[in-house]
């Protein structure tokens, strides 16, 4: 541990201003959602402008905050110890993201293994089945809900399989870029990181195409529990791929500006870890949501 001198940053206005942005986003968002989904909501004020203002505010503040951090890093103020703090912090953050997805995966397995059989009369569900929905049959994907809504499942071997291949390849290109960074091969690094970003964008485009296709064939968010789980799991994954792509794009710009060296590349590695995390989540998604 390099402990001869610790670095404690100067006081900073960004935490407080970011909180204000978050608050505007939350208050605006709650009203915006209500006003756009409930016809009878009498608006005391319109949530939409506040929501977007808050979001923009938050993004600007975070950008300024990270600019400060980047300046400190480039200015050589970061010690190995601070680098360790950042690294550990990022790993625990990814762990918290894993647990967020775990909530939705848990909901899916609870639905598949317990709710659906019970609704079809297994175990203690016999009377519920008999009295409420005697025609309901257990199946997965659930193409007909107890109240009779029907939907079509999304097959695994079309776009989803292509997307799986894209993410797997992107993991390989990113790893090649990582090795190039550590070995100081700038050309390879830029080439393969740019390739990873492009693959991320292609993934997102195909995912959007898949959603359009899903809505065309009747797989919608409100088509029962299968649609709910399908769109929340893949939707949150897509949101994370978007964040990861932006992350990699920004570190690519920083590579072009010459910010990283093999012993000062925390932000680059954090982006890479994040990317591998969204890859792994996708593999679970592909196997459990699309395939089995």
């Amino acid at each position: 541990m390099a402990t001869d001198k610790y670095y404690v940053p100067e006081s900073s206005p960004w935490p407080l201003t970011a909180s204000i942005g978050l608050c505007m986003t939350a208050v605006g968002g709650a009203h915006f959602i209500q006003q756009s989904t409930m016809a009878d909501m009498a608006p005391s004020f319109s949530g939409k402008p506040l929501f977007f203002l808050g979001l923009a505010w938050l993004l600007v503040v975070l950008a300024l905050w990270w600019r400060d951090t980047i300046k400190e890093s480039v200015g050589g103020l970061h010690s190995n110890q601070l680098g360790g703090s950042y690294r550990q912090g990022m790993l625990w953050f990814i762990f918290s993201e894993v647990m967020f997805f775990a909530a939705f995966f848990g909901a899916m397995f609870y639905t598949r293994w317990l709710i659906i059989p019970w609704l079809s009369g297994e175990g203690s569900g016999a009377m519920t089945h008999e009295l409420l929905w005697p025609n309901f049959q257990a199946m997965w994907p659930l193409t007909e809900t107890p109240d009779g809504t029907t939907t079509t499942p999304m097959g695994a071997w079309g776009l989803p399989a292509i997307n799986t291949a894209i993410l797997l390849v992107s993991s390989v290109t990113l790893t090649i870029a990582h090795h190039a960074l550590l070995e100081g091969k700038r050309g390879t690094l830029i080439l393969f990181q740019a390739a990873t970003v492009v693959l991320g964008v292609i993934f997102l485009g195909l995912q959007a195409l898949e959603y359009v296709h899903a809505y065309d064939m009747g797989l919608t968010l409100d088509a029962g529990i299968y649609g709910s789980l399908f769109f929340l799991l893949t939707g949150f994954h897509g949101a994370h791929v978007t964040i990861g792509t932006i992350f990699l794009f920004i570190t690519l710009i920083r590579v072009l500006k010459g910010h990283f060296s093999e012993d000062n590349c925390f932000a680059w590695e954090a982006g890479a870890w994040y990317w591998h995390f969204v890859d792994v989540v996708w593999l679970f998604l592909f196997v459990t949501v699309y395939w089995l």
């Binding site: 900073s12 935490p15 703090s85 550990q88 912090g89 919608t220 968010l221 409100d222 929340l232």
Partner: protein
């Protein structure tokens, strides 16, 4: 050790304590942020306490007196939310901020700016929640504040939730962001910022318990975020997570919620175990009995807390194998908890005991927390839980562990470390008044709840059957008495903040151990610029 004060000037002359409003608003200093957390949590304690006073006023007599049942439901709901997320959790985070860097010889928390962000999210998140209550009490048309209980079960909070539920959902998301960042900061500080020689098994137990608490927070707060997200999409985007007609299940909500909710109760109590494990050895003038077993017991409790959640749901209906599993796992938790209680008692055994204020609170904690633990053991037994479920017996149980448990230990911590924070000794007279009034009134308030609960009085109702009238009268008297007693602490704290009182030496408690007592009182703005030597 004078390194901290001595090296301060020459090492950090560019980095003096900022002054005025900027010092508090833009802080990157763990002590200032800790102070903010502690004042915020005490303010929330008073706000949540005021709501409890409304509840107890309505229940003073049978029949409807002051508020209508709809508003009563909002009071029980927001009282619970404010106390759990606004009072207890931020108080322990405040203690962590103040004490962990001092205890492990670090100059500050590992990520000081993120630390400040964790704090500043909270006033906004609770501002949103309290705004909903004020609108309900005084606003045009009185739109309802959240009214579904602090556990916000679906479908009460989805299909039947008031419009303010969406504000509630987003404020919970904000509290979650704050908690996760705060917890990441603690874990990283403990793993990465310890002074050389401060090995893990030399760390004070408060640091250990907070490390494990932080792990629990990072693991379960995202699950809570998942739960409220599913609520939001069920309410507005037509999903069917908690709707059986679409193939979901309202019971799924309870599973997701309690997967968060049970570790959450340990999040609130584990730091208390750490506090008491610091105070009892100091006033027994003996090292803590069974230090290593305390560490392992804390870790066991934390791991077991992930596999007991459905004991909150015995009456909901579950396969027999599930019921038995959750019952036995719950009972198993009493083993490591028992290890702790016996260790505290063994620490006091044949010690040179003195009963200064922190010790009084700590001993009250050990006895009354054990009382709450035993009623928890009763609740864990599935067949009898069918009788206790949703009665005042449950209310008695969790107020024993949370008020006479968590909050008593937080007061113990405040009296123990106030000299270090403020540089003056808290008033003995006021402290004694605060302690004895709180102790007697809390038991008057919560103990009879066991009896009315066993006799069948359900929780969360604005009215009750006549046979419960006498007990409820005394419960309410105890409630008002306990509420007023806390004003004494407000005076104690303000006096310390204004430096009124006897000046405190660096180590005001003769038997106290730890690095925090080796820096002057009040602790200087920056401590341990260079790492201290650990013997």
């Amino acid at each position: 050790m004078s390194t901290a004060a001595a090296t301060h000037d020459d090492h950090h002359d560019h980095h003096h304590a900022p002054t005025g409003l900027k010092r508090w608003l833009f802080s990157t200093n763990h002590k200032d942020i800790g102070t903010l957390y502690l004042w915020f949590s005490f303010a929330m304690f008073l706000v949540g306490g005021f709501m409890a006073m409304v509840i107890r006023a309505e229940l003073l007599e049978p029949g409807m007196q002051f508020v209508d049942p709809e508003f009563f439901n909002q009071m029980t709901t927001v009282h619970g939310l404010v106390m759990v997320f606004g009072a207890v959790m931020p108080a322990t985070v405040g203690l962590a901020n103040w004490m962990i860097p001092l205890m492990i010889g670090a100059p500050d928390m590992a990520l000081p700016r993120m630390n400040n962000w964790s704090f500043w999210i909270l006033p906004f998140a609770f501002g949103i929640l309290i705004f909903a209550v004020l609108m309900s009490a005084f606003g045009a048309g009185n739109p309802s504040a959240p009214n579904f209980g602090w556990t916000f079960y679906a479908p009460l909070s989805t299909k039947y939730g008031p419009a303010s539920t969406d504000l509630f959902i987003l404020s919970v998301h904000m509290m979650g962001i704050s908690s996760i960042m705060g917890a990441i900061n603690v874990v990283v500080t403990v793993f990465n910022m310890r002074a050389p020689g401060m090995t893990l098994m030399k760390m004070p137990l408060f640091v250990w318990t907070w490390l494990i608490t932080a792990f629990l927070l990072i693991a379960v707060i995202p699950v809570l975020a998942g739960a409220v997200t599913m609520m939001l999409t069920d309410r507005h985007f037509g999903t069917s997570f908690f709707d059986a007609a679409g193939g979901g299940d309202p019971v799924l909500f309870q599973h997701v919620f309690w997967f968060f909710g049970h570790p959450e109760v340990y999040i609130m109590i584990l730091p208390s175990f750490g506090i008491v494990s610091a105070i009892i050895p100091a006033f027994a003038r003996k090292p803590l009995f069974g230090y290593a077993s305390m560490v392992y017991a804390t870790a066991s409790i934390a791991l077991l807390s992930f596999v007991v959640w459905a004991h909150h749901m015995f009456t909901v209906g579950m396969p027999l194998a599930g019921t038995l599993f959750f019952m036995y796992m719950t009972m198993l938790i009493s083993v490591p908890t028992g290890v702790k209680v016996f260790n505290w008692v063994a620490t006091m055994w044949r010690g040179s005991l003195t009963f200064e204020l922190p010790m009084k609170w700590a001993i009250a904690f050990v006895i009354l927390f054990t009382c709450g633990g035993l009623s928890g053991l009763m609740l864990a037994i599935t067949p009898v839980d069918f009788q206790y479920h949703d009665t005042y017996f449950v209310v008695a149980h969790f107020h024993y562990v949370l008020v006479t448990g968590a909050i008593f230990s937080i007061f113990a911590a405040a009296y123990y470390w106030l000299p270090k924070w403020s540089g003056v000794m808290p008033s003995k007279l006021l402290g004694e008044l605060h302690f004895w009034n709180s102790l007697i009134s809390a038991n008057l308030l919560f103990f009879p709840m066991h009896f009315v609960g066993l006799a069948g009085m359900p929780r969360r109702y604005a009215d009750y059957a006549l046979q419960f009238a006498d007990y409820n009268f005394w419960i309410s008297i105890g409630g008002f008495w306990f509420g007023l007693s806390q004003v004494i602490f407000l005076i104690v704290a303000i006096r310390c903040a204004m430096k009124k009182g006897e000046p405190a030496p660096a180590k005001p408690w003769e038997g106290a151990e730890g690095l925090e007592w080796e820096v002057p009182s009040p602790a200087p703005f920056h401590t341990f610029d260079t790492p201290p030597v650990i013997k």
